[in-house]
């Protein structure tokens, strides 16, 4: 046993000529909440399938809880929990019956099963709904039940594939509170998500883009990456009276490397040649006022957008 919950070494998966996952190296410590991000179709779900033994590896190695995934995928499955974005519950079974079924699937003995079901029901506050059919629960409760079902056998490592897709903000917040609560008890979470606010909460994030891992670290480490903050540049938040036209003008302005809208302001990455007063004049000429300019640190969204652009440019260059 080591402190390492999940480790991959040049993890690779090919479907015919297509490489879905290419030389991915990840190390996740026990008790981490690991956020795994990337656009749709970039290989996130494939990585989960490889780590849970659903798909055989085409190359490289992977260990989950110290078990070699290539050698004993069945043992891996006994040590992990998995919850898909579809909350794979049986709609016509009650909450209790769903829990009983999954508990028996994991081979829990009757007395153990009963005590685990009690734990899960109290942990997820499910007691008012025990006799209700799962199909009649709202999204947030379904998700709690699904999480409960996948944790009956007390796994140390949990894989959650977009657990918050399609549930309301309150349920989303409650789920994350629960995840941190559990991670405090030593459970490791491997979570995929599209929400940047969720990514910011993670203790460790990685970003996969077109089969390759292009960022890996704590959110703070990523926000400080030199690729995202090239020397001699700074980020500015520019509040204007008219944000859409302001953005269009700002993008063409000398010294502005990139710009995007954020609420009522424009976020811009600028270099040393940028002249704030000149931009003010230019906008003024079009009847737009700048109300405020503040320095800004990169957000995770900036990081991923910046890295995606760079990777895209590299891919195009290699094709040409």
């Amino acid at each position: 046993m080591t402190d390492i919950a999940i480790r991959t070494e040049n993890l690779t998966r090919k479907f015919g000529d297509f490489t879905a996952v290419s030389d991915v190296n990840i190390t996740v410590q026990h008790g981490e909440v690991f956020g795994f991000l990337g656009p749709n179709g970039s290989g996130k779900t494939t990585v989960i399938k490889l780590l849970t033994g659903l798909l055989p590896l085409s190359g490289g190695n992977a260990w989950v809880d110290g078990i070699d995934v290539r050698k004993d995928p069945d043992a891996v499955r006994e040590h992990i929990g998995y919850m898909s974005q579809k909350f794979s519950l049986y709609d016509d079974l009650t909450v209790m019956e769903n829990l009983t079924f999954y508990g028996r699937i994991y081979g829990l003995r009757p007395d153990k099963l009963r005590s685990r079901i009690d734990d899960i029901i109290s942990q997820n506050a499910l007691s008012p709904y025990v006799e209700r059919q799962a199909g009649k629960l709202s999204g947030g409760w379904k998700q709690r039940l699904a999480l409960g079902c996948s944790m009956l056998h007390e796994p140390k490592i949990m894989f959650l594939d977009e657990p918050t897709a399609g549930i309301d903000p309150v349920a989303r917040r409650q789920l994350w509170d629960l995840l941190f609560d559990l991670s405090g008890k030593g459970i490791t979470f491997f979570v995929t998500t599209h929400y940047m606010d969720e990514a910011e909460r993670c203790s460790h994030v990685a970003y996969i883009y077109y089969s390759k891992l292009i960022a890996d670290g704590t959110p703070m480490e990523l926000e400080a990456m030199p690729d995202v903050n090239p020397p001699g540049t700074k980020r500015l938040e520019i509040r204007t009276t008219e944000v859409t036209r302001g953005l269009r003008l700002a993008r063409k302005f000398p010294g502005v490397l990139s710009a995007t809208v954020f609420g009522q302001s424009v976020h811009a990455l600028v270099d040393g040649s940028f002249d704030q007063a000149a931009l003010g004049k230019r906008l003024n000429g079009q009847g737009i006022d700048i109300t405020e300019v503040r320095p800004l640190t990169a957000s995770l969204e900036d990081v991923f957008v910046e890295l995606t652009y760079r990777r895209q440019a590299e891919l195009e260059a290699s094709r040409a």
């Binding site: 499955r77 794979s88 028996r104 699937i105």
Partner: protein, 373 residues
Amino acid sequence: MRNPFQGIGAVIYKEVIHIQRDSTAIVFALMIPILQMTILGFGIDTNIRQIKTVIMDNDNKKLSRELVDRLRNTDTYNVAKYVYSDREMNEAIIGGKARVGIKIPWDYSDRLLKGETAQVMVLIDGSDSSVAGQAINVTTAIGLDESLKRVLTTGQTLPVEVRPKVLFNPDSRSPNFFLPGLTAVLLLSVTTFLTAFAIVKEKEKGTLEQLFVTPVQPMGLLLGKILPYFAIGFTELCIILLALVNIFRVPIHGSVILLLLLSMPYLFVSLSFGTLISTRARSQAEAMQMAFLTFLPSIFFSGYIFPRETMPLPFYIISMFVPATYFINITRGIILRGAGLRHLWFDGMMLTIMGALLFFAAARRFQKKVIAS
């Protein structure tokens, strides 16, 4: 070593709850057989009787009227009308008002009395071959009988006498013929449908994917899913047999236990068909269409409707690979002829081989296509 059937108990537990809550499945499994049995058992009679007939008696004397009475008394003919011209007779047949026209010439009695050959013309509508066949047989037989009566002098007997005796179904009742075969078709259709649906439903819902991330073993999952449907198929068979004896009055001459035993490999055939369909179909609608495809050979090549003996060779060869062929031999053998294992061992063996092969093929495909995808 891991238990290769791990999870089977849990899956059966869950599947039984599904079946209890899904009343349409139960209705489907139990009502359809009764409905089909009623239609085929009460509604269809393959014995041809009361064929609509027109008669043109140009002689109209005692002897010709005697002939008409004899034809009438066979129960084969129902004299709809007397006609008086060839045109009228033709019109009746072309118009579908009659299927048979019998024309007795004006000199019928005279020729008979003179000891000459009298001719009777029988026109038969050939558009339904079984009706035509029956009409030919009965008129020929009556003609022969009438001739013999005149040729033989009193006291003489026939040198050769053929006495046919119909065994096992002496009254030639249609339910006795149809229902044992229908049992095989019903058992196949209902279990195939239910099994295919049960698996495809989980595929659609995404719950199957969740199960693969648990330590449940492929065999545990597959058997856990199909054994409850094996039980339903078996219950269905018992209901069909009870209805057969008590409602449709078809006696079972052989051993019911043997019939139940030999139905087990056949049930594995239909469960395996269902599983194979589920590995291919992505939706329940698709599964439905594929299931229908598997029924067609079972209905047309198994001897259920058309006798296998008269099939052209290629079709006969196909029929040897249709499991229902063997099970229909078994049901008709046991129910109608009182056959025992001594007579039916070959059919039983073929079903066991087919059941085992199909089940392993289904299990392999299930593991390859459903689990590793």
